[in-house]
């Protein structure tokens, strides 16, 4: 018989799953997140990969993690620090100690806490004995032994059995958080449905973990996180990279075009390529190019021939694509370049997040080479910004750079599934066959965009290219005044996009003491910090920028209504400097972090409080 449950209700909980990169922590984390979604929690997740695929087992370098933050309220970040740590070995424990709240619960597989593994993790004394864990609540479960015992009745080898240890963890956590086992099963059915033996074994391990938790003294209290009050409707859990891929598919559908992705694999952008490679059923074609340059060039070719053309990359790849973007600027062909930013320069921190490609996106090309730059700000809204980037590219005949980052690309959140029928049509400025008035650089009066005549169309034969062209006719031209006119026209075309984007919105009062300015993937942390301060009665608002070039038309006016402005970003101040160049009449203070890590809510609040005191 199980013991009587003592249940404590909590608003939100952060769990960090950590183990060897082969321990299946990403899977476990996703499985737990899904069960949270099923019971109606709001949630946000973040995986913590290693750069190596399988670094030596048991070492700090080999630790892979997955953090999930779920709650009965709006959850906007994966959480600063964890309430619960699952540590499958000593290295996982050691590397995650600094990310734990005081008094956190730590679940360890005691079977793996031996001298050999302590040595691999670099422990000089036994952390379970030396007092270093005194302030935490430790659950020592013989996970390996009990998992092996549970599956002994199945025809399963030890290696496979050990891979199921994570299901024991799931069972245990389900008991700890008062969940039905059935909410974890769907995930397994999808994964192992074709192998009934393996499916049964996995489910029996969940059950074993659940029963174990019910029976041990170490767990005297269980927790309940009630459903969040959310709008009615259908939700799904989505990462930024998948949302980006799907946003392009939606844009292709609305533009009645097929999607072409020319891309070269690069962390952390590759999932977009993976995802779209599986979408041939929706007419999407992916071309895995021989390098980043061929990635964008094939996309330019596809755009020239009339497709919705995309290329995806990260910082180092964007550098290689600069030449191609310049050609797209010159030929005024629509193309979207996605830069999933990571720590730089050079190879830098491939698996860590940063916002340090802003200047490269804005200016990293030869000549006067303006293009539209926009940034997504949460995993789910990557869908909308991928859609919008495509819409702007096609309707304004311009390259658009869409900035996301490793944090929102790999992170996930619950997303109310949108009604695609409500999205605007994307109207490509095509030319009718045999149009006698067609000229390659004749333009739309309002947008200044040229028209899109496709090779193969009857009676529109013309030539485009990287050489400067004469206004309207498109003949090669080295005329000085024509060049100046064309440079200014291309710049003006991009600036006029401001007439077609939404005005800047702010969270909080429209005027006040302190305006926090952010952009891109830091939205969740900034918004949470500001909402908390607002609740405390502070006069602080958030202006989070998604449209970077051109900036929203009302931005200057927004800035003018606050006593102070602080620009917060994960770089040395690139947005701050950009704003100084655009609106030099204002002073901007900065808060920067360049650690490959997202902002923590705590550190933001401390900083803002400091400034508010001075006002």
């Amino acid at each position: 018989m199980g013991k009587k449950k003592k249940i404590i209700e909590l608003d939100s909980v952060v769990i960090k799953f950590a183990g060897d990169s082969g321990d299946g922590m990403q899977l476990t984390g996703t499985q737990f997140s899904d069960s949270s979604a099923i019971i109606g929690n709001d949630l946000s997740t973040f995986p913590d990969y290693t750069s190596e695929i399988r670094a030596p087992e048991g070492t700090i370098a080999g630790v892979s993690g997955f953090q999930v933050h779920f709650g009965n309220k709006s959850i906007q970040t994966p959480g600063d620090q964890a309430d619960v740590l699952v540590a499958m070995n000593p290295a996982a424990l050691k590397s995650n100690m600094k990310w734990l709240k005081h008094g956190a619960t730590i679940l360890i597989d005691i079977d793996c806490f031996d001298e050999k593994n302590y040595n691999k993790a670099g422990y000089t004394s036994d952390p379970l004995e030396d007092g270093s864990l005194d302030e935490y609540h430790i659950i020592k479960a013989p996970i390996t032994t009990l998992t092996r015992t549970t599956v002994a009745e199945y025809n399963i080898d030890v290696q496979t059995a050990d891979k199921m240890r994570n299901q024991f963890v799931i069972g245990l956590l389900f008991w700890l958080f008062n969940r039905e086992i059935s909410t974890g099963e769907n995930y397994l059915v999808e994964k192992f449905g074709k192998n009934p033996e393996l499916l049964k074994a996995n489910i029996s391990v969940i059950q074993a973990g659940f029963n174990y938790a019910e029976n041990i003294e170490a767990i005297s209290t269980t927790y309940l996180v009630n459903p969040a009050v959310k709008k009615k409707g259908l939700y799904r859990n989505i990462t930024g990279n998948i949302a980006t891929a799907w946003g392009f598919l939606a844009a292709a559908e609305k533009a009645k075009k097929e999607l072409f992705l020319g891309s070269y694999p690069i962390t952390p952008a590759s999932e977009i390529l993976h995802e779209l490679a599986h979408m041939k059923n929706l007419g999407a074609v992916t071309f895995q190019a021989e390098d980043e340059i061929a990635g964008i060039c094939s996309a330019i070719g596809a755009s020239y021939a009339g497709k919705l053309a995309i290329t995806t990359t990260s910082g180092p790849g964007l550098a290689l694509k600069g030449e191609g973007i310049g050609l797209a600027v010159m030929t005024e062909l629509p193309i979207v370049i996605v830069d999933v930013q990571r720590g730089g320069p050079s190879t830098g921190l491939p698996t860590k997040t940063e916002q340090s490609d802003l200047m490269q996106a804005l200016y990293g090309r030869s000549g006067e080479s303006p293009c539209v730059v926009i940034a997504a700000s949460s995993p789910a809204n990557c869908f909308d910004y991928a859609f919008t980037a495509s819409k702007i590219a096609i309707e304004h005949m311009t390259p658009v750079i869409l900035l996301t980052d490793g944090y929102i690309a790999n992170g996930s959140e619950l997303w109310p599934i949108p009604d695609i029928s409500k999205y605007h049509e994307i109207k490509a400025p095509h030319v009718k066959n045999n149009d006698p008035d067609y000229k390659p650089y004749k333009r739309d009066d309002k947008k200044l965009s040229r028209y899109w005549a496709l090779p193969g169309q009857e009676g529109l034969r013309h030539r485009v290219g990287g050489l400067e062209k004469a206004n309207i006719t498109g003949e090669v031209s080295h005329d000085p005044l024509n060049h100046e006119l064309m440079v200014k026209t291309r710049a003006e075309k991009v600036q006029r996009v401001a007439n077609y984007i939404p005005e800047q919105e702010i969270t909080g009062n429209k005027n006040g003491d302190l305006l926090v300015i952010g952009w891109g993937g830091t939205f969740g942390a900034l918004n949470t910090a500001i909402e908390e301060l607002q609740k405390e009665g502070k006069n602080i608002s958030l202006c989070h920028i998604n449209y970077i070039n051109p900036l929203p038309k009302n931005l200057k006016e927004v800035f003018s209504r606050f006593k102070k402005r602080i620009v917060c970003e994960l770089n040395m101040g690139q947005m701050a400097n950009y704003l100084r160049s655009q609106y030099p009449e204002f002073e901007y203070s900065q808060y920067n972090k360049i650690q490959g890590l997202p902002f923590m809510i705590k550190e933001l609040k401390n900083k803002f409080n400091e400034i508010l005191k001075e006002i």
């Binding site: 899904d34 979604a37 099923i38 109606g40 995930y187 999808e190 959310k230 709008k231 009615k232 409707g233 259908l234 939700y235 799904r236 859990n237 799907w246 598919l249 939606a250 559908e253 097929e258 072409f260 020319g262 979408m279 041939k280 059923n281 929706l282 007419g283 074609v285 071309f287 190019a289 021989e290 390098d291 340059i293 061929a294 060039c297 094939s298 330019i300 070719g301 596809a302 020239y304 021939a305 497709k307 053309a309 030449e323 050609l327 599934i417 695609i420 029928s421 090779p455 193969g456 169309q457 009857e458 009676g459 529109l460 034969r461 030539r463 485009v464 290219g465 990287g466 050489l467 090669v476």
Partner: protein, 341 residues
Amino acid sequence: MIMDSPVQVLTVADFTLDAQVKWCPGCGGHAILSSIKKALPETSDDPDKVVFISGIGCSSRFPYYIKTYGFHSLHGRATAIASGVKIANPELQVWIVTGDGDSMAIGGNHFIHILRRNLDVNILLFNNKIYGLTKGQYSPTTPLGGVTKTSPEGTIEQPFIPGELAMGAQATFFARVPDNDPGMMKEVFVKAAKHKGTSLVEIYQNCVIFSNQIHAEVTGKEVRHDHQIYLEHGKPMLFGKNKEKGLIVRGTRLEVVEIGKNGVRLEDILVHNSTASDPTVQFMLTRMSLPEYPMAMGVIRSVEAPVYEEMLEKQVAQTSQKSKIHSVTELLHSGNTFLVE
């Protein structure tokens, strides 16, 4: 007999653009352009379906001189851009115009990859063994020891043999032509266009300014009968003014022989097989060089192989048929979703 719907026959005029050709007088480009314009009416019945895509360099000005769709792109990248064009619209007849610097140096990577993918496009490689537009630096095909602006004491780099590189990259079609033989050029260009897969035609092109007469040893009127061998599928490999010389295989090498000498008969001469998928002999032919051998001209290799965009279209069709998801709305509702009531 009166045909119901007469096929409209195109002429050179249909591809002639009213534009000033800005190559130097005497440049090989003029003859190549003229031969292409003669070949196109035989390869296409619709100029609107023809695209010329070029990189950067003298040769790459080509699209400005021909009345088709045209894209003058980036240095070395024409092959990559053309790949996107062809995948996006397989109905187009795509020609890539490139030079030895454009395709062998800065575009070397894209060059080998388009060949191994075997998209159905045609590459015209103007090989003048020099950088012309940047005014006379050595290129990856400049002969070892060649004195240029950037190699005052002679180059110290082994040159690429484009055909050898192409076959290493599994090219399905390789031909070589001299720029002073319009008849041969036209015939080979037509064959290149009709080949399904990536066709590479290396054109020995003369640059009158920076590498004048670079190919004279091969293309000169006095020497060409002895220094060129025009290869035709199914025909014996003969050359010389009176076709008195030929090629045989001795051991593992090709050898030049004279018919009638040392008991050599016409039947002993190798018969050219451009369609053999094993490229061994074609490779040896490609590598032949003076003074031991004549230079191989004509279609050296032309083999059937799966074409990239066709395989892709097949996958798209099959996947679409198998999948239950045919709209973004269906996609958004697939897999794990959570209903909040």
